[in-house]
Amino acid sequence: MNRILMSCRVNGEDHTCLADPRDTLLELLRERLQLTGTKEGCGNGNCGSCTVLVDGAAVCACLVLAGEAQGVEVTTVEGLAASGGGRHPVQQALIDHGGTQCGFCTPGIIMSAVALLRENPDPTDAEIRHAIAGNICRCTGYEKIVRAIASAAAEIRS
């Protein structure tokens, strides 16, 4: 398949790259822009490991065509670090609470949590669990993730 020029805006920067017109947003990010923080798990919208923000809303990058990513603002886990290079409070809280083990689901969990806290700065545990229901973690059992997100929410509010 001939490659075509595609442009997109990711983490505040405009990118132009050669891409397969059949690429998903996930492939565009990982294969063309080398932004490999976003992971592919199931590839069909069930596991949430490819969660990114499109115009601020959490979506599965595996179910977005690269063509759809033209003219929107994409945020990946690489785009969360504070301007000094420090970690986002959600990232720090996951470390502090042991909310990550093998780490494969972690970028997706982080993006779902960031989307939640932007619209709901003080979520209940039930709201946190609902927000990450589309993110499968086979290691942690979720308890430490929920505690970490609640703690990050408190940190951001303070």
Binding site: M1, P21, R22, T24, G43, N44, G45, N46, G48, T51, V54, A57, A58, V59, C60, C62, L63, V64, L65, G67, E68, Q70, S112, A115, L116, H130, A131, A133, G134, N135
Partner: protein, 291 residues
């Protein structure tokens, strides 16, 4: 995925023009279509992205109180729309049950309809709310009651050259409410073993003026439950009449046994969910029906 041409269309005219191409698929949220393309079940030669067509992305109210919902409006948008919450609570229930937050942010009402899954959560609420489908083709716009749109699992009566533009929901009567309930083994991220929507309209004497009941996952298409509705119409609302309707709904369905549940289990669930949905309608109207 097979090679295809991706085209963003920004007007209904352009969409209908493009729709004439062979093996053209309409892309809205893509949560079903892209997964089906990856699995090789759909092989489009052209994909037209309708997410920037104004008529397909708005929820607009007419002077008569009816709401027209663009087919490409997302589940998340509908969940946050106070008009949907107030007038069409069953639909409001359903759009919060479809998939995860990630899916709800993309998945659209028209996509849920056109994917034509027997388990589509948004469809029974639309049927009990007497939704009309507005369908655009080369010959112009036509309308059809939504409940007549479905031909079988994954199949509708839309012609290949047609596009579902919007769904029109008439304004509900006073003292009327709807509710949607489903049963899934997992609370989140699961597909209904049975789904049940109900709409009740009561008179001033608590007599049932109209009852509409629709079911998901119990037949090749979403269905009405006419014998259950007939048990209710004209009677004062009581726990007894609700139980009779719930039992009658079982005979309206033709459930199958599959990997998710047996037909017998589905029949049990139909009675349970229809009963609970009817009680929830009454509660939403503000009428306490002693159980």
């Amino acid at each position: 995925m097979n090679p295809y041409t991706y085209q963003k269309v920004t007007s209904l005219d352009a969409a209908v023009m493009a729709r004439g191409a062979a093996d053209c698929f309409v892309l809205a949220g893509g949560t079903d279509l892209i997964a089906q393309m990856k699995a090789g079940h759909r092989r489009p030669s052209t994909i037209i992205d309708v997410k920037t067509i104004p008529e397909m992305t708005a929820v607009s109210a007419a002077p008569d109180g009816s709401l027209e919902i663009g087919a490409a409006v997302s589940a998340t948008s509908l969940a946050g729309d106070d008009r949907i919450r107030a007038r069409h609570p069953a639909l409001h229930d359903a759009v919060q049950l479809i998939g995860s937050r990630q899916i709800q942010n993309r998945a659209t009402l028209g996509g849920n309809v056109c994917n034509a899954a027997p388990s589509a959560d948004a469809v029974p609420p639309l049927i009990v709310d007497t939704a009309t489908a507005r369908i655009l083709g080369p010959g112009g716009m036509r309308t059809m009651p939504l409940e007549d749109l479905f031909a079988g699992p994954g199949r509708t009566h839309l012609a290949p050259s047609e596009i579902l533009v919007s769904l029109v929901l008439p304004s509900p009567a006073a003292r009327s409410a709807s509710a949607y309930l489903r049963f899934t083994p997992r609370r989140e991220m699961d597909i209904a073993i049975v789904g049940a929507a109900a709409r009740l309209t009561l008179g001033p004497d608590h007599r049932i003026v109209e009852a509409r009941i629709a079911l998901a996952s119990v037949a090749p298409t979403p269905i009405r439950a006419p014998s259950a509705e007939a048990k209710l119409a004209g009677h004062p609302i009581t726990a007894g009449i609700i139980a009779d309707a719930a039992t009658a709904a079982q005979s309206d369905a033709a459930p199958i046994s599959d990997t998710r549940a047996s037909a017998d289990y589905r029949r049990e669930l139909i009675a349970v969910l229809v009963r609970r949905a009817l009680f929830r309608c009454a509660a939403r109207i503000g009428v306490d029906v002693p159980q």
